[in-house]
């Protein structure tokens, strides 16, 4: 009984302990242990939610930037000067390439482990093993890169981002892409689309258009590309798409597209054709005159300030801005490379300087002493102020004495008595000193300011220097007694510095009716749909002189070309006006020869400033180049300007205006007079402004020289054969080189040939430079030989001194 009770008691005790223990387990596993689970979930899903979610989204989405197309730059006629196209950056992912290689190995092992040959065949990869060497070899061939450097990049196997080539063209990119996909390297070689800038005209207007720097996020580095970068660049867009863990895009799941806004297009005032003319003339002159430091040509529409063309030399190819193509700069580079005294740093700095030289816009960023071209503004000021008029006379003894100092005229013998127009045509320094003194320092300085020489022109290009006291005298100094010589030299444009742009802008005011315009190169900015975002209207800064003064100036300046120092710029039919200039510099025997020209003189459509910096003289104190060219604006820049203006006016469709004298000298087509009576033939030829010489004594014309249809200068003689036999002997063309016009005329007439003169057709003292048919050539009688004459007298030379 007792035992039974004990068992019962034990059993109850055991039951109790079992109950307690089950309750403990229940508490632990049913309640307690679940609490940290909730806590942990709360921590991960609420506290760390954003952090973890962003990590997840990072890997779940492709977030690619969409390159905005950079705007196109057009010239005023719609020719494309700069455009963007898709190019590719080649990116290697050595980490993934390694994975691809491992996968290849695995596949090979798998294939080798296969039982049947057929299966082995099936499992074997279809392409050769993508070793680092084979990848490097292929890429180096396609991209023209060094194989070693690619191998070195491939060895960085913990990297996923190695850019080995930038701005690769589409066709090369396609080849690389094909190679990658055919060799199991699609995940390892990537092509990232980016934009590449193309400049279809290569060197054209290089310093104005500028270029973009690929190393600086495709931002504009120079010129208008930099100036209007904000407008051109556009807004980069983004594409966000979902992708799965294998990198496959899941477009249906999630896609977000932020449009890239393409950059705006720029239309310039530049005209590619005029620009081309300018660059051609610049290059020709540089070669012909052995110019050492380049030069520039600016062509502007005087009434609006629109820049029509702006050429600089040395220049470069915008598509490859870091390569030097100018032969003189190349020589400089060679010299730098050969200079063993330089440290590496100095050498690279020197090389960079050379690059800056070709990139910089000489005619805007640098200043020079304008020389005689500046006299245009002095003339306008003097006429406006009434201190001189067309009847004023000046006497030039060859020098002027100012504050006890001798200032020489370019013609040391002196121009003697001359009218105002003649003084301008002679570019006579003593006359202008007198004019400057008549104006007075205060008034003179007022006009300096009024013509904008103390301000920036405000052109929309970078790097225009602000005039300062080092460049141009401060008013106090200029108007004080010590400023007397300054006033004198200022009167003929020396001893102060301005930019060429300031000069042409001021000169435009002189000839356009007195309006100082703000020059500009950006005509309009349009969006991709052609909506005009911004349009530049011509802006008048101020009226400097009156319409009538301007008109008087034009007339006087036309006289410079019509028989004055600028006569070599004369081209029949174009009514060119202008002013020569030869600027001295701080260096000995370093002259900047220039010519400011405009046409037509009665209604200027275009004004050009052309300058050559430092033609090579034959020796110290020599005024001639080895080609026999006198170093002066009149002898060098003027003929170039004439040629240029003629081209531009023809291109612009400006109608030619011939004077009667010009008309008389124009080429006439010989009519057929054979079979006519002498009187009939004479009358017919007189209609064509041709004279008659007869051979033989018949009644009717049996033959004629030249034959029908040949163009000969007006006033030439046509030989009529009245029954006599026309000689069939050929004649030899005489050697005309070095002859004057009269000598050449005589030499040709002597053998029955005709002269057509080109080049300097007005100067009295000229020499034949070249002839269209080489000396000694046997030709039929009556042929026309075109002879190019150049002036031999020093016109518009530098020539000032003490």
């Amino acid at each position: 009984m007792k035992k039974q009770k004990k068992i019962q008691r034990d059993s109850a005790k055991a039951n109790h302990s079992v109950l307690i223990r089950i309750l403990i387990l229940m508490g632990l596993f049913g309640v307690l242990f679940f609490i940290p689970m909730f806590g942990r979930l709360f921590y991960l899903q609420i506290v760390q939610h954003e952090e973890l979610e962003s990590k997840a989204i990072d890997q779940q989405t492709y977030d690619r930037s969409v390159v905005a197309n950079r705007g196109t730059i057009y010239d005023s006629k719609g020719n494309t000067l700069a455009m963007s196209a898709t190019a590719y950056d080649v990116q290697l992912s050595p980490l993934e390439i390694l994975e691809c290689q491992e996968a290849y190995q695995e596949q090979v092992e798998k294939a080798q482990a296969a039982e049947t040959a057929e299966e082995r065949e099936k499992l074997m990869p279809s392409y050769p093993e993508p070793t680092n060497e084979s990848i490097a070899q292929t890429l180096s061939q396609l991209l023209g890169l060094d194989q070693e450097s690619i191998l070195q990049r491939l060895s960085k196997t913990n990297s996923m981002y190695e850019i080995i080539a930038k701005q690769v063209d589409e066709d090369v990119a396609d080849q690389i892409s094909a190679y990658a996909s055919e060799n199991g390297l699609s995940r390892g070689i990537y092509l990232n689309a980016t934009a590449k800038r193309y400049y279809p005209y290569s060197t054209l207007a290089a310093q104005i258009v500028g270029w973009v720097n690929y190393n600086d996020g495709n931002r504009g580095a120079y010129g208008l590309e930099a100036m209007y970068d904000d407008m051109l660049a556009g807004q980069t867009g983004r594409v966000v798409t979902a992708k799965d863990g294998h990198g496959k895009q899941m477009l249906y799941r999630y896609e977000d597209y932020y449009d890239a806004t393409d950059g705006y297009d720029l239309t310039l005032t530049l005209d590619a054709t005029i620009q081309y003319y300018c660059e051609r003339v610049l290059a020709e002159g540089i070669e012909k005159y052995e110019v050492q430091d380049g030069g520039f040509v600016i062509a502007m529409e005087p009434k609006t300030g629109r820049i029509l063309a702006w050429a600089n030399s040395p220049t470069y190819d915008l598509n490859d801005p870091r390569t030097v193509i100018d032969s003189q700069l190349q020589a400089e580079l060679t010299a730098i490379a050969a200079d063993t005294t330089l440290t590496d740093e100095e050498r690279s700095a020197a090389q960079t300087d050379v690059l800056f030289k070709q990139w910089s816009n000489k005619a805007l960023n640098e200043t020079y002493e304008p020389g005689s071209t500046f006299k245009t503004t002095v003339l306008a000021a003097a006429l406006e102020e009434g201190v001189v008029n067309e009847n004023s006379t000046f006497y030039c003894p060859g020098y002027a004495i100012v504050a006890d100092r001798h200032i020489w005229c370019s013609d040391h013998k002196g121009h003697k008595d001359q009218t105002l127009a003649k003084a301008v045509a002679n570019s006579c320094n003593p006359a202008f000193i007198e004019i400057g003194q008549a104006l007075g320092a205060e008034t003179f300085y007022d006009y300096l300011e009024a013509f904008g020489f103390k301000d920036k022109t405000g052109i929309d290009l970078q790097g225009e220097p602000t005039p300062n006291d080092n460049l141009i005298w401060p008013r106090e100094e200029f108007t004080s007694p010590i400023g007397l010589t300054s006033l004198a030299t200022a009167s003929f444009g020396q001893r102060f510095k301005i930019t060429p742009l300031q000069l042409i802008t001021a000169a435009s005011a002189v000839i356009n009716g007195g309006h100082l315009m703000r020059p500009y190169v950006m005509e309009s900015i349009t969006d991709a749909d052609g909506n005009v975002i911004q349009h530049t209207e011509p802006t008048e800064v101020r009226q400097v002189v009156s319409e009538s003064t301007s008109e008087r100036c034009r007339t006087i300046l036309e006289g410079v070309v019509d028989g004055g120092t600028g006569k070599q710029a004369y081209v029949a039919g174009y009514r060119i006006g202008g002013k020569t200039g030869s600027s001295e510099t701080d260096e000995d025997d370093h002259t900047i020869v220039s010519f400011l020209g405009f046409a037509p003189a009665n209604d200027p459509q275009v004004v050009v400033l052309i300058a050559y910096d430092n033609p090579t003289p034959t020796g110290p104190n020599s005024n001639y180049t080895s080609g026999g060219h006198y170093i002066s604006g009149g002898n060098m820049a003027a003929p170039m300007a004439g040629e240029l203006l003629a081209d531009i006016l023809d291109y612009m469709g400006v109608e030619k205006q011939y004077t009667d004298a010009e008309k008389a000298a124009m080429d006439m087509t010989v009519p057929n007079v054979t079979g006519l009576t002498l009187s009939e033939a004479t009358a017919r030829l007189a209609e064509s402004n041709l004279e008659v010489r007869t051979v033989g004594s018949g009644d009717t014309v049996t033959d004629q020289i030249p034959a029908q249809g040949v163009a000969i200068p007006g006033g030439s003689q046509v030989i009529l054969y009245m029954g006599s036999e026309k000689p069939t002997d050929k004649v030899a063309v005489p050697d005309l080189s070095g002859m004057s016009r009269e000598q050449a005329q005589a030499a040709l007439t002597n053998v029955g040939l005709y002269l057509k003169s080109t080049g300097d057709t007005t100067s009295e003292s000229v020499r034949a430079e070249s002839q269209s048919i080489a000396a000694g050539t046997e030709v039929e009688m009556g042929m026309v030989v075109e002879v190019h004459f150049v002036g031999t007298t020093a016109t518009g030379g530098a020539g000032s001194g003490t």
């Binding site: 034990d10 059993s11 055991a14 039951n15 302990s17 079992v18 109950l19 223990r21 089950i22 309750l23 387990l25 229940m26 596993f29 049913g30 309640v31 242990f33 679940f34 940290p36 689970m37 909730f38 942990r40 979930l41 709360f42 991960l44 899903q45 609420i46 760390q48 939610h49 952090e51 973890l52 979610e53 990590k55 997840a56 989204i57 890997q59 779940q60 979902a242 799965d244 863990g245 294998h246 496959k248 899941m250 799941r253």
Partner: protein
Amino acid sequence: MARKLKRDMTMEEQLARGPLDLPFLTLVLLLTGIGVIMVFSASYPTAITEDVSPTTYFVKQAIFAVGGTVIMLFVSKINYQRFRWMSVFVLIGSIGLLILVLIPGIGEAHGGAQRWIRAIGPLPSFQPSEIAKVGVIMYFAARLSKRNQRKPLQFNRRSYLYAPATLLERTGFFELVPYGAILLLIAVLMYFEPHMSGTILILVGGAAVLFASGINLTWPALMGGVGGVGLLTVIFFTPYMKTRMDTWLDPWSDVSDKGYQITQSLMTIGSGGLVGVGLGKGRQKFGFLPESENDFIFSVVCEELGLIGASVILLLFALLVVRGFWISIHARDRFGALLTVGITTLLAVQVLLNISVVTNLLPTTGISLPFFSYGGTALIIQLAEMGMVLSVSRQIPAPKQE
């Protein structure tokens, strides 16, 4: 066999026809249902990648869920007293299978571990360790339910071993020997597979039954202490374990390799936030989160259903566990109680370990989530276990009618 009329049945038989525990059954069906739906959501990207119908995994799992439910109901109809004698065969059979699985040709290896018995005929492939879990719990429960009938061992007082032997007996050492031997045997067999997480679960299941049966805790505590120290030593001195620990402590230090799976899981869970991205709309299962339909399915649940959904599921699990223990407390006899404790604890530990792993509370081990993780045989065995609990619940004496 014609049905017996109620009046002809013995008391036992009448009791065995009591009602199923409805709360427990409801929770099981609810979790199974949600689990199958989550398998669909989590598995279709995998199916698409494998170029099969997106519903492939879902259909298989659904079939197994239905089959498993039928089996569960069938098991629940069995008078659980029969499990007493069955337990011996189940245990011996599972040990036999654990040996068989090591034989190449019968066993099937996945990822370096030979844990599966290859599918034979209509039988699907399965893990013998799943059966061993049940076997151990059944056998331990059956044997321990009778421990109060066990006579303490008597020792010869004159033997010099008397004192230590008596001490060992009093502290319950000799009673533990057979259980320890069985567990050791199974652990050794499974070491050869190897199957660490399965071993842990079997040990935990056995230990839970042992603990609940009221055994003296001296030796388990001692062995647990020694084992713990031993485990720590192994962890700190085995490089493999050490890196695993480092990964656990700072998974973000190596997101591309060792920490990949766990960091992906954390990102998946974290993406869910409070309300989740929506059922089926998870993104991480698309090739980012490995085993998204398997061991890491709970991460997908967290991503798609958010903290709220995940908490509801956790709560359902907790309720199921609590109800399981409730059934064990109210079980008609000790065997039923211990059987239920074993099965319930096993379930709870699986859930807790799985969730701890996917949330990086514990280092990664491969433990699937009951009712959720994809896997037909595991689900069927799980549901059969639930059937056992339900069978016990049928014999709970109905409360007295007032």
